[in-house]
């Protein structure tokens, strides 16, 4: 992961390292930190493809206000990955278009 290893002012206290999958690929991240941050640390910047023109989109505001970071998480679409905490075993997928309602909802 591309982390800030040392910092002149800050000390980072990460939670537990956990495994999750992104589009079927196994990755590692820190429990409780935003999914999008874990993906970024793993070099993943494209989070979704937009409905009309299929253009790639990634992180933008990081505070849950812009919809740029929507992904499918554990089958649920339109999850704001910039403020959704990572949990062990999460299945994160690139969202294509508007996403689908999860079955049973």
């Amino acid at each position: 992961m591309e982390l800030v290893e040392k910092h002149p002012i800050l000390e980072f206290r990460h939670g537990r390292k956990v495994k999750f999958t992104f589009d079927g690929r196994e990755m590692e991240g820190f429990e409780g930190e935003p999914i999008a941050a874990a993906l970024h640390a793993n070099g993943v910047k494209v989070l979704r493809y937009m409905p009309k023109k299929g253009r790639p989109k990634g992180f933008f505001c990081a505070i849950g206000k812009c919809s740029s970071c929507f992904m499918v998480v554990d089958g649920m679409s339109n999850v704001r990955t910039c403020i959704t905490p990572l949990r062990e075993g999460m299945q994160v997928e690139t969202q294509r278009g508007n996403g689908m309602l999860r079955e049973g909802v």
């Binding site: 040392k6 910092h7 002149p8 002012i9």
Partner: protein, 169 residues
């Protein structure tokens, strides 16, 4: 188009000279005197609030530019550590040999400089203009703003405003 001008945060030579202490006092002052390079009125006063001798005069209005009574300045560098704009520099002209001076600068980067290390001395636009020797490293406020004492060429004291630890190829 020139970009090394006042509008982008580069102090002019005239303003630098105007902020500098009076020569006679400076040349004899062990411990050094402070140069505060804060030319814009902004609401801020920690330099005055934290000066133990009252050398940085009190502000009538919080937006006033800082003024220094050099007779009271002891070169303690408290302001260097406390200024949120990293705008204070202490220079001791009595230090070392003929061509040398000691500069106390604020530093908040990595790698951490160590005593005895050689560092690049950077001018106001980040160009290395000399090599300096780290004499001492302090963290006076215990808040990670280091005050680094660097031996520098005397003729560059109005130019050197930052240091960079030399990377080892």
């Amino acid at each position: 188009m020139r970009f090394d001008d006042f509008a982008t945060g580069v102090l002019t030579q005239e303003m630098a000279k105007a902020a500098a202490p009076p020569t006679k006092l400076w040349e004899g002052k062990r411990g050094g005197l402070v140069i505060i390079e804060c030319p814009q009125p902004i609401p801020c006063d920690p330099c005055h609030a934290n000066c133990p001798t009252g050398a940085v005069l009190s502000f009538e209005d919080i937006n006033d530019l800082p003024k220094v009574d050099f007779a009271k300045c002891t070169g303690c560098a408290m302001c260097v550590a406390k200024c949120p704009g990293l705008a204070c520099f202490v220079v001791d002209l009595t230090y070392g040999g003929d061509g040398e001076a000691l500069m106390k600068l604020p530093y908040e980067m990595l790698p951490r400089p160590e005593e005895g290390m050689e560092v690049d001395c950077l001018n106001r636009v980040g160009e290395p203009v000399a090599t300096g020797m780290v004499i001492r490293v302090q963290d006076p406020q215990c808040d990670k703003t280091l005050v680094v004492h660097v031996a520098v060429p005397k003729d560059l004291i109005l130019d050197i405003r930052a240091i960079r630890v030399k990377s080892h190829g």
